[in-house]
């Protein structure tokens, strides 16, 4: 087979892979087809990988023994690590694992760009455009690499979730930016045929190393000042970066599937980041500037702040009676439920209530918890029947017919200030209309604030009873009390 035909076949196969990515993402737009979409996307990846291997193996020179060893051992080790981690990870730790995968993806893109530059520097192939794409690939790849690791560490609790101020702050950013900019300009101007062509290869590689380091440092200083709870948005943004870095390495290597798939992720990741920020009623800029919410530490600090009006406490037995004789109870789970790992406890309580003929449903706010879909994942893990989970739009009109709304570790997503107080930082965010229920029981540990760090007038509403307890312990004692009735 001629080289050109081999390339033609490979090209078509790469195109098929790229189309599979697009259709896969398309199917992932709706819950019913999402899994099939992910599988289609995975098949596209298999096609792309296999095609690349076959193409380079069958081409003129073929693959050297060393190349085979590197590729096979690399695939086995990397794939094995990925598989084990992905299989072992606890449901709630998934976002930080995704962030780690993101980090290695960005790292790989940076390494590819570096490798390529080392090979072309000083030769005819070192054109202006090569230099541009190499630098972009290295910078973006490095930022994602270290940034994603920091983000993952924050979510895992290895690094404090609170915003960490970087010494020097803006100065550091400016310095790093300068290094990158000057380095880039020199590399571009020293490309083959450009004004500074004479610069030695060693010097150029030194400059690339400096840029690499600057990118890595910048990734760290960019993510450190951002609060832990904003990490899902940051990860999504870095995800989009990695896609772009992959596209850059596609330009460097002149490979269509890298360009298409990279640009696809770059753009869709960007849109997704915007959607996620919108759901929290924040702008991406506002998030990246950092310092918001103060993470959970700040929330703890605000605990003593109490609210204005007077708070009515309710005993476990009183709350149990209220719910046991209700017709309709709506459970509102929030971040506190996730922290306390109380998903099983809440399902047990619901089952006991249902056995008594109470109608129980769950009100799922899109940004309850700390990642989109957090509550769905948690409650699904505890085998809560899917039809009982109601989206915000669906459940809101039902609150007025509910006898009891049981709020478990949720705060911001129930705060009426979002509707009524234009000065509030969450003003305009759609919330669950918990205050429409006939009565409200709130389980949380204290009068502590939530993610947005503001007071919640729901707690001083006369029809609200506060049940101060850890979510899991509180739910378990409620269940016991209902059983004893």
């Amino acid at each position: 087979m001629s080289e050109q035909w081999l390339f033609t076949i490979a090209f078509f196969a790469w195109l098929v892979g790229a189309a599979a990515f697009v259709l896969g993402l398309h199917l992932m737009n709706s819950p019913a087809s999402a899994r099939k979409g992910n599988q289609l996307s995975a098949s596209g990846m298999a096609v792309a990988i296999f095609t690349t291997l076959a193409y380079y193996a069958l081409r003129g020179e073929g693959l050297s023994i060393e190349a085979w060893v590197i590729i096979i051992v690399g695939l086995v080790i990397g794939g094995g690590l990925g598989l084990v981690m992905a299989k072992r990870v606890k449901m709630t730790a998934m976002p930080q694992l995704v962030s780690l995968f993101n980090a290695v993806g960005g790292g790989a893109a940076a390494l590819i760009a570096i490798f390529d530059y080392m090979h072309v520097a000083g030769t005819e192939k070192e054109t202006l455009s090569t230099a541009v794409f190499v630098v972009l690939g290295v910078v973006i790849g490095c930022i994602t690499f270290t940034g994603s690791i920091v983000a993952s560490g924050k979510l895992q609790g290895l690094i404090s979730g609170a915003p960490i101020k970087v010494p020097g702050g803006q100065m550091t950013t400016v310095a790093l930016g300068l290094i990158t900019a000057v380095g880039t300009i020199i590399l571009i101007l020293s490309a083959y045929g450009a004004p500074l062509e004479g610069i030695g290869t060693g010097v150029k590689l030194g400059i690339l190393l400096a840029i690499t380091i600057a990118g890595c440092v910048f990734g760290i200083t960019m993510v450190l000042p951002i609060g832990g709870a904003d990490m899902p948005v940051v990860i999504s943004l870095l995800n989009s970066f990695t896609g772009t870095a992959a596209a850059m390495s596609g330009f460097v290597l002149n490979n269509p599937v890298l360009i298409i798939a990279g640009a696809l992720v770059g753009a869709s990741g960007g849109i997704l980041t915007k959607l996620m920020a919108d759901a929290m009623n924040r702008s991406i800029m506002n998030i990246m500037v950092g310092g918001f919410g103060g993470g959970d530490a700040a929330a703890g600090a605000g605990a003593a702040a109490g609210g204005g009006g007077s708070v009515r406490e309710v005993g476990v037995d009183d709350a149990a009676i209220q719910m046991a004789y209700a017709q309709k109870v709506i459970v509102v789970p929030g971040y506190g439920l996730a922290v306390a790992q109380a998903q099983h406890a809440v399902r047990e309580l619901a089952e006991i209530l249902e056995a008594r003929g109470v109608e129980v449903s769950y009100a799922i706010h899109p940004v309850a918890g700390r990642m989109p879909g957090h509550m769905n994942v948690l409650l699904a893990e505890a085998n809560v029947p899917y039809p009982q989970l109601k989206e915000m739009e669906e459940i809101n009109p039902e609150f007025s017919r509910a006898d009891v709304a049981l709020v478990v570790g949720a705060n911001d997503v129930t705060n009426p200030a979002a509707r009524s107080n234009p000065a509030s930082p969450i003003y305009g965010m759609p919330i669950l209309d918990v205050d429409q229920a006939k009565s409200v029981v709130v389980i949380k540990r204290s009068m502590g604030r939530g993610y947005a760090g503001i007071d919640n007038e729901l707690y001083t509403d006369p029809k609200t009873g506060m049940l101060f307890a850890d979510a899991k312990a509180g739910l378990e004692s409620l269940a016991a009390a209902v059983k004893a009735l």
């Binding site: 697009v22 993402l25 992932m28 737009n29 899994r35 992910n38 792309a48 291997l53 693959l63 060393e66 190349a67 590197i70 690399g74 990397g78 794939g79 598989l83 992905a86 998934m94 694992l97 995704v98 780690l100 995968f101 290695v104 993806g105 790989a108 893109a109 390494l111 590819i112 490798f115 080392m118 090979h119 899902p232 995800n239 990695t242 896609g243 992959a246 390495s249 596609g250 330009f251 290597l253 890298l258 360009i259 298409i260 990279g262 640009a263 696809l264 992720v265 753009a267 849109i271 959607l275 759901a279 990642m371 989109p372 879909g373 994942v377 085998n383 029947p385 899917y386 039809p387 989206e391």
Partner: protein
């Protein structure tokens, strides 16, 4: 710029447009799995890693190619598996539901 580069840029622009259009009106509950799914796709760098492995000819090159391959493979395999696990969570459980239904009826 040479024609090949121009063509590549055109592919890049069109792929960006596809990316913008494909993520439309996603329900918020799917944001995390979608992010994870997009994360798997940029595992395509594994293709780049294979290409540089094919071209590598000195120890430093081998090391770079090897690390890139390991990274890329972890991204691909881990990404798809973890996304699949997430999406499993979002699936209705028709079997369990059906098993219960007759008892209640």
């Amino acid at each position: 710029m040479d024609t090949q580069l121009l063509n590549s840029l055109a592919l890049f622009v069109l792929a960006i447009l596809v990316g913008f259009e494909v993520i439309s009106k996603v329900p918020a509950t799917l944001h995390t799995p979608l992010m994870s799914g997009a994360n798997s796709i940029h595992g395509i760098v594994i293709v780049g890693a294979i290409i540089i492995a094919a071209e590598a000819s000195d120890p430093l090159g081998y090391v770079l190619a090897f690390v890139a391959t390991v990274f890329g493979a972890a991204n691909v395999v881990g990404g798809y598996v973890v996304t699949d696990r997430m999406l499993q969570m979002f699936k209705k459980k028709p079997v369990a539901a059906k098993a219960d239904a007759p008892k209640e009826a």
